[in-house]
Symmetry: C2
Subunit: 213 residues, 2 copies
């Protein structure tokens, strides 16, 4: 079939979104979400592939100011802990880097992993224990690109302890929080990653091997 080797007409639109996407910290405006956007984003996440079609994810929308303030306090403590591990040059550099937009974003979205979903025989998970966790990440990337398509920013905060976040939100035993995502309208998306702008890290070229390492 000729159609099978012709790129989808939507493909340029897709690549524009992929390359425009940023991990947002500092550009949140706090404005309300565009109408219908959160629902469309969540439906995109729920349409992600998952091992054994287990869809092991849940989504917790956090708008409450008190919960966000408590989470931010915890994140700042973890930030300080990380800073202590650094040498003085790196610590100086790190001090200027914003790592979260928990209170400035319009909402927080916590994505969790429920290992019991579809158990005991999740097709495709018997040999790879982490496969369900991988599925949750695929859903998160759908969210991220959907946010970009909606002209909304998203940033993944990872300076926290899972137990703290699980307790804060009353997540049941056995279910793991995988991400706290800051989401909301932004003034703009930067064209280069923050960590590159701050000289912390540089983007790497593609690493491709053929028929073995």
């Amino acid at each position: 079939m000729a159609g099978t080797t012709t790129p989808d007409p939507d493909f340029e639109a897709f690549y524009r979104i992929v390359h425009r996407r940023r991990d947002v910290r500092g550009q949140f405006t706090g404005a309300e979400m565009p109408e219908g956007s959160l629902e469309r984003m969540l439906r995109a996440a729920n349409a992600a592939p998952s091992v054994g079609l287990s869809q092991p994810w849940d989504f917790v929308v956090v708008r409450d100011r008190g919960l966000r303030a408590d989470f931010k306090t915890h994140v700042l403590e973890e930030r300080a802990r990380f800073a202590e591990e650094l040498g003085s040059d790196r610590r100086e550099q790190f001090s200027g880097i914003k790592i979260e937009g928990i209170e400035e974003a319009t909402l927080g979205l916590v994505v969790t992993y429920d290992r019991s979903r579809g158990a005991p025989h999740v097709l495709g998970r018997h040999a790879i224990a982490d496969a369900g966790l991988y599925s949750v990440c695929l859903a998160i990337q759908n969210l991220w690109l959907a946010a970009t398509a909606e002209n909304v920013g998203m940033g993944w905060v990872s300076f926290y302890r899972e137990e703290f976040l699980a307790h804060l939100l009353g997540v049941p035993e056995g279910i793991r929080p995988v991400a706290w995502l800051c989401i909301g309208p932004v003034s703009h998306l930067e064209t280069i990653p923050d960590l590159e702008a701050h000289g912390w890290a540089e983007r790497r070229p593609l690493a491709v091997h053929t028929d073995g390492w």
Copy 2:
């Protein structure tokens, strides 16, 4: 700014791709990849977000027939092992489900995780050991959607042991294979997931909680 709350004009194209994407097993034609498509897909993967901008992924393109035959033999052994765990009803159902297209696809693509990249101080990984692994999955989802945009199929095979695959491809110590992806032109993409068509699992509605579980 008005622009920040208006959906990107590309957003409908993006959602069409998200909802058209399938985990392909049986529809590969073996035809050559559309010109430039693999390169565009890999660039999309390399543009995925990663913890501390570590981009801890490598890509191994496997076209060699011998390597693919060896991998398939291993996968069929793991399939048999999984089948043994099942009760008779589930085993009967499983026997009709195709789990891979290793030899029919145009190529295999193995994605790996290098924990040492950006170490010792990967910004955002000190509190969450798996964060680097999460990044690799985000890159895989970019690949998956890019494949769909290119009108190419992709299927994630997870019936294998990491050590087997690492040894087969000569992946260095300390680097983990995260996925074997079957990629190539397809006759068509199914409209519902194979596991749903076979009655193995059903797609779940969205699970959303607000301000706590």
